[in-house]
Structures are given as structure tokens and as C-alpha cells.
């Protein structure tokens, strides 16, 4: 979901007419955008004015009850900057760290290639692509509605799929213990109904990968197969790992 899309929720948000996921996404959005926050403040102030006509005198004993209740209730100190870390936050940070580590491993390979070929411009370009990809991965992994699923790989290892409806994308983290035998390579697939679409082919001997997949939330599953070098147009049985999304 783009910034424009999310900001279109400003009215619904001010009216408390969004769900929890959208509310969290919108909170994040206004935290990054001062003019959006100014519009929200005004619309929320306007919505609160709608309480004016909703006037109904409560029974007098309610005040007695409330006064008694506050006598038993402590008060928050003025806001402190520190925010307690949630278990979700820790798990997510670990995921970001794993993704960054895999990307860095890829980046090292790129650097070696660049030095060997003495093609500094090419190296810079690839480094920029890698940095861009990393930013994209971080953005998806930071989505408030992120859903993370994993499945083992036959032969050892794990495939992790993190997908976000809001970003309309997902990240596939592949970590196999060993490369396929017989010179074959790993290939990633997104499966939807009876259709399989290639989501990337690993190089010979490559066992780890981080792949951004656009539109991933629309898929039913992510699969991994072993294919001839360069990959195939359709998956070859057996499926070595299958992460169900739906």
C-alpha cells in the first residue's frame, strides 16, 4: 500500500472506522508525516464535535461510582520516551538481521566479482541495487500486518516467508543446509491454484537467498524445487519445501 493509499484513510481513521491493522499502519504513517498529522488532528477534532448533539444525562450514582473508582486508581506519569520492546518486535528484528546477513553475504560476492573484473562502476551499481533491495526488505518486514510462516527443506534447512497485505508483497528467506545433488540448483515458486510462477533461481552451489516477491499475499503457497542450472519454466517434482500461505 502506498503512502497515498494509506492517507486516504484519514477520514475513516478519525471516525474510528478502520480495523486494527489499518489503525497501526496509519499511526506509523502520521508519525512520519507532519502535514498528515495536522490534517488528522483537525479531522479528529471535527469528529469529536459530533459528540455535542449526543447529549444524555447519566444517572447520578454513576458519578459516585466514578469518583470512588478514581480513588482506587493510580495515574500515569508524564510520557517517557522509552517504549517497552514487545516479543513481536524482537522476533521481527531477528528476521531483519537474518535478511541483512544473507544480503550482506550476497554483497560480498558482488564485491569480489567487482575487484576481480576491475569494473568499479559495475560494482557500485550492484551495490546500489543491493542497498535498494535491502531497504525494500526492511520496509516489508516492518509492515504492521506482517505474517511469518516457515517450512523445513527436505535435506535440511528452512524456508521462511514473511508477507504483508498492506505492502502487497512478501519476502522469501531460503536457508538450505546443502545445495541439491547432481549439479542442480534451487528454484523458488509461488503457487496459486494450479499455476506455478517462478520467483527466482539460485546459482549453482547457492544455498541461501532473500527474495522480494510482489503480490505475494495473493498466492496460496511458496514452493522450492531442484532444477537444472538456470531454472525451469515449470516446477519438477518433488517439491523440497512448501510454505502454505492461505
Amino acid at each position: 500500500m502506498t503512502t497515498t493509499d494509506i492517507h486516504a484513510l484519514v477520514g475513516a481513521y478519525a471516525l474510528d472506522a478502520v480495523d486494527d491493522v489499518e489503525r497501526a499502519a496509519f499511526d506509523r504513517h502520521v508519525a512520519e508525516c507532519d502535514t498528515c498529522r495536522a490534517e488528522l488532528d483537525e479531522l479528529r477534532e471535527t469528529a469529536a464535535r459530533l459528540a455535542d448533539p449526543a447529549w444524555s444525562v447519566p444517572p447520578p450514582r454513576l458519578k459516585t461510582d466514578v469518583m470512588a473508582a478514581i480513588g482506587r486508581t493510580g495515574q500515569l506519569p508524564p510520557p517517557a520516551p522509552a517504549v517497552a520492546e514487545t516479543p513481536v518486535g524482537r522476533g521481527r528484528r531477528r528476521l531483519v538481521a537474518v535478511a541483512a546477513a544473507v544480503l550482506l553475504a550476497g554483497g560480498t560476492g558482488v564485491a569480489v566479482y567487482g575487484v576481480q573484473e576491475q569494473r568499479v562502476e559495475e560494482q557500485r551499481r550492484l551495490a546500489a541495487v543491493a542497498a535498494q533491495q535491502e531497504a525494500r526488505v526492511r520496509s516489508i518486514l516492518a509492515a504492521p500486518d506482517l505474517v511469518v510462516r516457515t517450512a523445513p527443506v527436505i535435506g535440511g534447512g528452512k524456508v521462511t516467508v514473511a508477507s504483508s497485505q498492506l505492502r502487497d508483497a512478501g519476502v522469501v528467506l531460503m536457508g538450505a543446509d546443502a545445495a541439491p545433488s547432481g549439479g542442480e540448483v534451487y528454484q523458488l515458486w509461488t503457487l496459486r491454484g494450479r499455476n506455478a510462477t517462478s520467483a527466482g533461481v539460485l546459482a549453482a552451489g547457492q544455498t541461501t537467498a532473500v527474495q522480494v516477491v510482489d503480490g505475494l499475499p495473493d498466492s496460496d503457497a511458496v514452493g522450492v524445487t531442484a532444477e537444472p542450472p538456470g531454472g525451469s519454466t515449470a516446477p519438477t517434482a518433488p517439491i523440497l519445501s512448501l510454505v502454505q500461505l492461505a
Binding site: L15, A17, D41, A48, P59, M67
Partner: protein
């Protein structure tokens, strides 16, 4: 602005307590100040919650929760982001909506939503007590909206419906409902002369 000016004039003979000052005192643990703040906002807090929940007993319960929340979190009120009364009504509305959603999740949601009438829901509320200038002003400004803007805003605010439910109820596409909520509130803002201190 004319309306605001008249509002101020009418308030001169009997100035209402300043909600922001009361709230600051409440943040310091001042219980009598909390009592005065309660008197100032309770009818609107209870009225709003009762309107959304449509159940007086539950409305009393949620009103108590909200007022205790106001006491507990008074130090978090930020006067640069809006008026003290709005801060309280925002908490009240959010709590009422949360309660509606929780109820709907456990009940037959489709049946309840289907049974909700799509007539102008604010009329009943406004008619509970007539007279005060703000109420008349809000009503007049609601009348100033297009039919779809008014339905979108009032179904969400007074009934606690999500924008998806509003789209279903009105048979209108989601993006249209989102837009009508936004431009409806903008029109209300201009009609009511709402301003936020920080701007």
C-alpha cells in the same frame, strides 16, 4: 467564524469551566478538579457511548471505564493537538467502538448489520435535547453535507460501523466511502470553524 463569535458571546454571562485547565489539574491528582471535569463532559460522554452501544446499562459501564481512563492518562493530554474535551470524546468514542466490535465478533454480525437501519441516525440523538447552540450548529453543518457524506460520517460515528460495513450498508465502493468520510469531515471542519492550536 460568525458562529464561533456568537458562541463566545453567549458564554460570557456564565463562563463554563476551562476543560484544559481542569485536565491539567487532574494530571496532578486533583480529585475535586476531576469532579468538575466530570460534570462538564459526562452528559456528552454518556450520551455518545449510549448512542453507539444503544444499551443504557453497557453505556454506564463504558462511561465509567472512559472516565477512569481520563483520570489515569490525564498527563498524556497534549494541548497542541486539540481541545481537552475532544481528547476525552475521542477516548470515549474509541472505547464505545471497541465494545461494539467485540460484541459483533461474538454475535451474528451479519444479522446485526443487516438490521441496522440506514435512515438519518443522528436525528434521534439531536432530538434528545434541543436548544444549545453547539448542537444546533453541528446539526446544521451535518445538513450541509451531501447525502452520501452525511450517511458515511454518521453511520461510522454514531453507529460505530467500520468503513467496510458502511460501504456494504450503502452499496457504495470502498474508495468512495473513504473519500466521503474524508471530504465530509473537511466540510464539517470548515462549517464548524474547527482549528487546532498548533497550526
Amino acid at each position: 467564524m460568525t458562529e464561533r463569535a456568537r458562541d463566545h458571546l453567549s458564554a460570557v454571562p456564565d463562563p463554563p469551566p476551562d476543560a484544559a485547565a481542569l485536565l491539567r489539574a487532574v494530571a496532578q491528582g486533583d480529585e475535586p478538579a476531576f469532579g468538575r471535569l466530570y460534570d462538564l463532559v459526562a452528559a456528552r460522554v454518556y450520551g455518545l457511548i449510549r448512542r453507539v452501544l444503544r444499551d443504557p446499562a453497557q453505556a454506564e459501564e463504558v462511561t465509567q471505564e472512559v472516565m477512569v481512563e481520563v483520570w489515569r492518562t490525564a498527563s498524556r493530554f497534549d494541548g497542541t493537538r486539540g481541545a481537552a474535551t475532544s481528547w476525552i470524546f475521542t477516548i470515549a468514542h474509541r472505547r464505545a467502538v471497541d465494545r461494539v466490535r467485540a460484541e459483533q465478533a461474538s454475535a451474528d454480525r451479519a444479522r446485526k448489520v443487516g438490521a441496522a437501519s440506514v435512515d438519518t441516525p443522528y436525528d434521534e440523538v439531536v432530538d434528545e435535547v434541543a436548544g444549545r447552540l453547539e448542537r444546533q450548529q453541528v446539526r446544521r453543518c451535518l445538513d450541509d453535507l451531501t447525502e452520501l457524506q452525511r450517511q458515511a460520517v454518521t453511520l461510522a460515528y454514531y453507529r460505530g460501523h467500520s468503513y467496510r460495513e458502511v460501504a456494504d450498508l450503502l452499496g457504495t465502493p470502498l474508495p468512495t466511502v473513504k473519500s466521503r468520510m474524508r471530504d465530509g469531515l473537511i466540510r464539517l471542519r470548515d462549517c464548524l470553524g474547527v482549528e487546532v492550536a498548533s497550526r
